[in-house]
Symmetry: C2
Subunit: 198 residues, 2 copies
């Protein structure tokens, strides 16, 4: 085995730990980086250096940004809607932002309750959520439609009951562009029950 | 859109240019890097810095390594077999090394002849190959079994005809573990013609 020195081997091993890349695709990626050294490898190295220094977690909502409070929490227009969207993960926050859900604020839980994985209420940013709640008129629980997600949603609803803030959840139904015969029964029956008039 | 500052956005865009990663998986990868800052992001940043400085192309064979001549070209035991394996790409060299083909040397062409893509003989390291040829007793053309690969193999055979070195190519046949009814007709007829006695 001579894959070109320990520096290259180590780079492959580190890239292989990224989600979506395995050892084989990490090797391809490293070769691509080496081929495009000036156009890709050098800028990527510099961008990573900058990100290592700059990235921090927002102390208010848990988003990642280069400042804390993050761009969303420090934008005064986002306070006007009175809407706080609770998500499991920063990836979900970014997905909602990409969907253009409007001038809202977020709260990143950092996971969902999962007794089997040893994740209890104290591991999530629930106290912070309860403390923030009175600033908002409505809290939308945008947790995943999994068993753990729904358990977490119920737990949060109980915790927020005392605050008097309205708590809602995302609608269940047929995904836009989705075909009915590929959908599971749970989604279909929920979509039928929540049918809307045309 | 507020994906957390220009540093994060730039990192996503650069990672999305790696083969096997698109914008969506690059975003997931960046979030993973941020979550595992100390275990993954910092080491990856350091490994990239080191690789940018260290990686070079071997001036003899075209392999990538941290020294030139590379580890393979400077290993005297690899001269004994007298075998030179010609490959299109460094990825192919690595694949053969992983397969443990033995103490051989390599020559990386840097591509295949492809008039449609504007790749002519002058774009490949063919003069270097002809110059190296007399040092070896046999040259194996391990180019891909594509039309371009086979055209390139014929061209190289012509170029090497004057050197008197024996030129061979990889065997065609049924891949180990392969099932006959998934194979194309070309492979099957080649495999039948090149059948060996048990």
């Amino acid at each position: 085995m001579s894959n070109g020195g320990p520096e290259i081997e180590q780079l492959i091993q580190l890239l292989a730990r990224l989600p979506g890349l395995g050892p084989r695709s990490a090797r391809r990626a490293v070769l691509h980086l080496i081929k495009k050294k000036d156009q890709l490898m050098v800028p990527l190295s510099a961008a990573l250096d900058r990100a290592v220094d700059a990235v921090r977690t927002c102390e208010v909502c848990g988003n990642v940004d280069t400042r804390s409070p993050c761009g969303i929490c420090s934008d005064p227009r986002r306070a006007e809607s009175g809407l706080l969207i609770v998500v499991e993960d920063v990836a979900d926050l970014w997905a909602l932002e990409r969907a253009g859900v409007g001038a809202v604020r977020y709260h990143v839980l950092g996971g969902v309750l999962s007794p089997l994985d040893g994740v209890g209420p104290e591991d999530l940013s629930l106290d912070e959520l309860v403390a923030r709640a009175p600033q908002f008129s409505e809290i939308v629980l945008a947790v995943n439609a999994t068993v753990e997600g729904q358990t977490t949603a119920h737990y949060i609803t109980d915790r927020l009951a005392g605050t008097g803030v309205k708590v809602t959840r995302l609608a269940h139904g047929v995904p836009v562009g989705g075909e009915l015969d590929y959908l599971d029964e749970g989604t279909l029956s929920q979509a039928l029950r929540a049918r809307t008039e045309l």
